[in-house]
């Protein structure tokens, strides 16, 4: 089905594109998180950048407070399974169902594990920004539905 220009505009307007970007855990490598925050901002998203050394509690609280439509998490420390598991649990406890996108140094077999935990998409090193933006666009559509 193809949409008319007016319909597309209407749909874009109805999608709130507010993304929380954060590091999770004690890992301080923030190049990826910052580049993605900036790319999303340049693509017209509203970005809340939380920064480094955030616990699952910090992120869940910020997600409530900022009323975001998607969450982007960057982890390079190898602790992604436990951290993301706890984050998603806390989000659900707070009644937040917005999609969580995870990026970082993630071994291939953990990608499926993360998705089983409820992660919307996993972005590994080398993903083009265009694809990153598309993933967050889809995530925000789901998150503002």
């Amino acid at each position: 089905m193809s949409l008319s220009a007016a319909e597309v505009t209407a749909q874009v307007r109805s999608t709130r594109r507010k993304v929380l970007v954060s590091k999770l855990g004690l890992d301080g490598h923030d190049r990826g998180a910052k580049v993605i925050a900036r790319a999303l901002r340049d693509a017209g998203f509203e970005v809340v950048y939380l920064g480094v050394h955030k616990t699952p509690e910090d992120v869940a609280e910020a997600a409530v407070e900022e009323d975001v439509t998607a969450i982007g998490i960057s982890i390079l420390s190898g602790s992604h399974l436990e951290l993301v598991n706890d984050l998603i649990k806390l989000l659900r406890e707070r009644g937040i169902n917005v999609p969580v996108v995870v990026g970082g140094v993630i071994p291939p077999e953990d990608v499926e594990e993360l998705k089983k935990l409820g992660v919307f998409e996993v972005l590994t090193p080398g993903t083009p920004l265009k694809k990153v933006t598309e993933v967050f666009e889809r995530a925000c559509e789901v998150g503002s539905a």
Partner: protein, 559 residues
């Protein structure tokens, strides 16, 4: 007509009669060529680019082992002694790490390099709630002197040199190392190694800080002073550009921000009443090696020349050792790809070559699987072998600074130097590196460069095999190293045991003494931390004591 004028005439003749007609017939593959620094690269360099611009051999290069050290810090370089093969390693518990170290030594590694887990780097014991997810993940867990003893079980601490990537808790960790050595009858005056102890770059790029900048600088300075007086063969700091490069810095930024940090450290130590030649010989450096060989070699050479000048002219150093920029190199982690991981071996080989052509004193080669996880024994062995092929088979060690005198490399060296001086001038103008960090200057420059790099990759201006060119639709099936999930329980159990067995009065007293020392500004806290460590205070307890006095740092987030 002078030789240069004659050359210029002949060169113009060649351009008009040979080059231009060729390009007309068969154009070059792109209209303009740029280096990673963004320098426009010409198709040919000649003496017109060196001597032709007033360049003189003795002023710009000199001889290896003498000022300005452009060609190398030692007269014979690798003909006299190979660089140290030093792979950064550590994971899980002390036992896991001990066996990895023994393995590395068994395959020909010549120095150790300790990786600590994030809780250790941030002064948290493994049973701290904040440490829960991270125990043993990116390095070894190190909560007390007992753990250090286990890591070095059956490893001769008097024979091997050990480098430690540790900053906010550098004194605690070095104290543990010294305490273990002394318990084995090895005097600290004999110990060889390095602590990173470079807190400034944590605020700029790496983010593993604890306290605010000023008390952190006092802490780093205390270590430098203590080592100058008591551990004379130890590099008391490894002033690091590596993390700037990893965060996105261009080569000139990497040099400029590193040397500007170094200037700040020297100023702090001088302020405490030491003279420059008493400690400067123990300052060392750490840079990245990227795949772009010639610009990287130029970066190392420029850094050496600039540091020599800074030490001689700005700080009036007299001892040549104070002017020598001795450095460790690690191949650039950001250039590893998760796609087609074996291709990383080719990249790291070229990067290692750049480091060696650039005159490094020690080298870590990343393993091909590190865009996916920590390296396995098999992958790390290949990293060691890359170094050994360079050392034994390639012939690059046969002469000192083999690229010296290349018109192109000399031109590049001058360009990197010129750009780096401009940034150092800017930092001076802002009032020094701490002020520049507070204003967000280096952080912003690096974030901007990282973003611009990414955009160049997206546009295809920078080709990366497997990422934006020669793409294969495959999922790499390689063996991954997993940290044993039982590590946390195991180290916590040992920590509880230690707390039961030690003398609680001694621990309490030494922490109280430390607190009092930290509250004063003119006392060196190293001996107090050392005492607490020997009394089996834990890393977390010592760090907590200092946090209570100095507070914690929360960074403004710029992106």
């Amino acid at each position: 007509m002078s030789d240069l004028e004659k050359l210029r005439e002949k060169f113009n003749e060649w351009v008009n009669e040979v080059l231009q007609p060729t390009i007309k017939k068969a154009p070059e593959i792109k209209p303009r060529f740029f280096s990673e620094e963004g320098l426009e690269i010409k198709g040919l360099y000649t003496p017109l680019d060196t001597e032709g611009v007033g360049w003189d051999y003795l002023g710009r290069l000199g001889f290896p082992g003498t000022y300005p050290f452009t060609r190398g810090v030692y007269p014979t370089m690798y003909r006299g002694r190979a660089w140290t093969i030093r792979q950064y390693a550590g994971f899980g518990s002390a036992e896991d790490t001990n066996s990895r170290y023994k393995y590395l030594l068994s395959i020909g590694q010549t120095g150790l390099s300790m990786a600590f887990d994030l809780p250790t780097q941030l002064g948290l014991d493994p049973d701290n709630k904040l440490a829960w997810y991270e125990v043993g993940k990116v390095g070894v867990s190190m909560s007390s002197v007992n753990e250090m003893d286990l890591v070095f079980h059956e490893i001769p601490m008097d024979k091997i040199s050990t480098s430690m990537t540790i900053n906010a808790t550098a004194i605690e960790i070095l104290s543990m190392y010294v305490a273990v050595a002394e318990s084995r009858g090895i005097s600290k005056s004999l110990l060889r190694g390095t602590v990173q102890n470079d807190i400034l770059k944590e605020y700029i790029a790496r983010n593993n800080y604890i306290y605010p900048p000023k008390p952190s600088m006092r802490y780093a300075t205390d270590l430098i002073i203590y080592a100058a007086k008591n551990i004379p063969k130890w590099n008391s700091i490894s002033i690091s550009g590596y993390h700037f490069e990893e965060a996105g810095a261009t080569p000139a930024m990497e040099v400029a921000f590193t040397l500007a940090d170094a200037i700040e450290y020297v100023n702090w130590v001088l302020e405490r009443g030491m003279s420059v030649d008493e400690f400067a010989g123990q300052l060392s450096f750490f840079f990245a090696a990227r795949t772009n060989i010639f610009e990287q070699v130029a970066k190392f050479r420029a850094a050496r020349r600039m540091w020599a000048k800074i030490m001689r002219d700005r700080f009036n150093a007299k001892d040549p050792r104070s002017m020598m920029l001795r450095f460790h190199t690690q191949t650039a982690g950001v250039l590893l790809t998760a796609q087609q991981p074996l291709v990383n071996l080719i990249r790291t080989t070229l990067q290692a070559l750049a480091a060696v052509l650039g005159g490094t004193q020690s080298l870590h080669v990343n393993s091909y699987d590190e865009a996916l996880s920590l390296p396995t024994e098999e992958s790390v062995k290949l990293s060691v072998r890359v170094q050994q092929v360079l050392l034994y088979e390639s012939g690059v060690i046969d002469t000192v600074d083999p690229l010296g005198g290349s018109y192109y490399v000399e031109w590049l060296t001058d360009q990197i130097e010129e750009k780096a001086w401009k940034m150092i001038d800017e930092i001076d103008r802002l009032g020094g590196m701490i002020r520049a960090i507070e204003l967000g200057y280096p952080q912003r420059e690096i974030a901007r460069a990282a973003y611009e790099w990414q955009l160049r990759v997206e546009k295809g201006d920078i080709p990366i095999i497997g990422v934006n060119t020669l793409i294969e639709e495959e999922t790499p099936s390689i063996k991954i190293l997993r940290v044993d999930p039982k590590v946390r329980e195991r180290v916590i159990l040992r920590l509880e045991q230690l707390r039961k067995e030690r003398d609680p009065m001694k621990v309490r007293d030494s922490l109280n003494e430390l607190r009092k020392a930290a509250e004063k500004e003119d006392v060196n806290i190293f001996p107090y931390i050392y005492e607490a460590v020997k009394n089996k205070a834990t890393l977390g307890e010592i760090s907590k004591t200092l946090r209570e006095v100095w507070g914690e740092w929360r960074a403004p987030e710029v992106y």
